[in-house]
């Protein structure tokens, strides 16, 4: 699948082979569901979120980013016990924002990727908490120590994962 955007003429837009995004997303969701079964500590990872951030930053098209985030979020909801749409809303927002950022700043450097993932992880969590509070009436805290650790771990994993996913790009 090749995606072209209006920003192509200004910023390099990465293209991927057909089916890559779908398979990566499915794989992320499957690992998200299976890894905690064998490795309890793997529950801290948010692979669907990392995939969403990566493709949002790479595509640099907000419409595509939010649609991908929505699709991955709804799929994650369908696999879990949360109401259908909770993760969908959060990942839609992250996909939209990540695509918007990706078109403006350098997202290839590992440090920037780490920081952006760290920030988007908290954006994702904030949207989840707000949605929980407003729609479900549950009073979850915005920030916890575990959340900080999870964000740091996911950001570190993201740097490695993004480097791996970079291999799936079509050569420019």
């Amino acid at each position: 699948m090749e995606i072209h955007t209006q920003y192509d003429q200004y910023i390099e837009v990465h293209k991927y082979y057909a089916g890559t995004i779908v398979w990566v997303a499915i794989l992320a969701l499957a690992l998200e569901a299976l890894l905690p079964v064998y490795f309890r500590s793997a529950a801290i990872l948010e692979l669907p979120l990392l995939v969403t951030i990566y493709f949002g930053l790479s595509w640099r098209n907000p419409s595509s980013g939010l649609l991908l985030g929505m699709a991955i979020g709804l799929a994650q909801d369908s696999l879990g016990h949360t109401p259908f749409g909770m993760y969908g809303i959060a990942k839609t927002a992250v996909g939209f924002v990540a695509s918007s950022f990706g078109s403006r700043i350098d997202v290839e450097h590992p440090i920037s990727r780490f920081l952006l993932t760290f920030a988007f992880f908290h954006v994702h969590n904030a949207v989840l908490v707000v949605t929980n509070r407003l729609l479900l009436g549950q009073h979850e805290p915005y920030l916890e120590a575990n959340l900080i650790i999870a964000s740091v771990v996911n950001s570190a994993v993201a740097v490695l994962l993004y480097a791996l996913l970079d291999k799936l790009r079509k050569p420019s």
Partner: protein, 358 residues
């Protein structure tokens, strides 16, 4: 309207978020298992309902409290006038009811003593002279009234006819200083005149200090004044004081009749004796409608002026009746039957003009 390309992604983002929020609202249940979408729908519609209700209430209040009340002042004035008229009417009816009660009492008294010729009269005025206790009544010489006829109410002695005019008469009340009546004590039967004092109370005179008199004892007419028949109530003993400088007691008497509020009286046309002791109960509360037909009146006698309680005044407009033995009986007007409560109607039927047999 086409969306500008720079806003297209933002619009898509908003639509995606809204769609998913709607999706969540369809699943989430709040409170008593009410879907969130329903809660939102109701909460979004209820302000409109509240606003509509507020508007309707405001319009209704405006209509009811302002527009619909534009004639209220006129109605209020009309109702006030109506209330005033009804109050006046009520007062009139109460007065008439009281009058009917009094007349029923008079009629009952007359029926209880049908053997005595009496003529009902209305008190139409009082004496302008405060020193004299007199009233004017609505009967005069045309009704058969003569000077020195006794005037009573069912409660007791009122006074006597002092002056007679064609259609009115002047009655000297017992409380006048010039007034008096022959009386006796109900228990001891000791006799003495009851005289007016110019005050509301009367005085019983010439009762010896040796007679035992108790407050509350009844005082009756003795019949010796030739004006009132025997045993009519005069009053009750109120106070008894022995007089060290006199062989007689000083006795204050409360009049039996309400002399300060007279409205209707009975004029005794004859000196026929009353049987008060036997008929004391019958004389009270005899229904007007059940009044028995009047018995043929007994031959009446005119009061003799031989022993008047008060000296006749020279200003009397009518000469004192002459003690003619064949004086005619009083001639009450036959304009109304005895059972009608009209105060102007004579209580007694026209008596046959029989010659008096003193």
């Amino acid at each position: 309207m086409p969306i500008p390309s720079r806003h297209r992604s933002l619009t898509l983002f908003a639509a995606a978020i809204a769609a998913q929020i709607l999706l969540l609202a369809l699943q989430i249940r709040r409170g008593q298992q009410v879907r969130l979408i329903r809660v939102w729908a109701i909460e979004s519609v209820s302000p409109l309902g509240r606003g509509a209700a507020w508007s309707v209430d405001g319009a209704r209040s405006l209509w009811n409290n302002y527009i619909a009340l534009r004639h209220t002042r006129e109605e209020d004035d009309q109702l006030r006038t109506e209330v005033a008229a009804l109050r006046m009417r009520n007062a009139q009816l109460e007065s008439r009811a009281a009058e009917a009660d009094r007349l029923a009492g008079l009629l009952g008294f007359r029926d209880a003593h049908a053997e005595v010729q009496m003529l009902a009269a209305r008190v139409i005025g009082a004496s302008p002279d405060r020193a004299s206790h007199m009233v004017f009544i609505s009967r005069g010489s045309r009704d058969g009234l003569r000077r020195d006829m006794g005037v009573i109410t069912p409660e007791g002695v009122v006074g006597k006819v002092f002056a007679v005019y064609p259609d009115t008469s002047q009655v000297l009340l017992l409380t006048d200083k010039e007034s008096g009546v022959g009386a006796l004590l109900g228990e001891s039967r000791a006799q003495g005149p009851v005289r007016g004092t110019g005050e509301p109370l009367l005085g019983l005179e010439y009762i010896s200090n040796e007679v035992k008199v108790e407050p509350g004892e009844r005082i009756l007419t003795s019949g010796q004044d030739r004006i009132f028949p025997k045993d009519l109530p005069v009053g009750t003993v109120l106070q008894v004081q022995p007089d060290r400088h006199s062989p007689f007691l000083k006795i204050s008497v409360k009049p039996a009749a309400r002399l300060d509020g007279l409205e209707e009286v009975l004029v005794l046309l004859t000196r026929q004796e009353f049987n008060f002791r036997k008929d004391a109960d019958k004389s009270v509360a005899v229904p007007v409608a059940s009044a028995a037909p009047p018995k043929p009146a007994a031959p009446a006698t005119l009061p003799k002026p031989a022993a008047p309680a008060t000296p006749p005044k020279p200003a009397a407009p009518t000469p004192p009746p002459k003690p003619k033995p064949a004086a005619p009986v009083a001639q009450p007007k036959p304009e109304a039957p005895a059972t009608e409560p009209k105060p102007e109607a004579p209580v007694t039927e026209p008596a046959p003009e029989t010659p008096d047999n003193p």
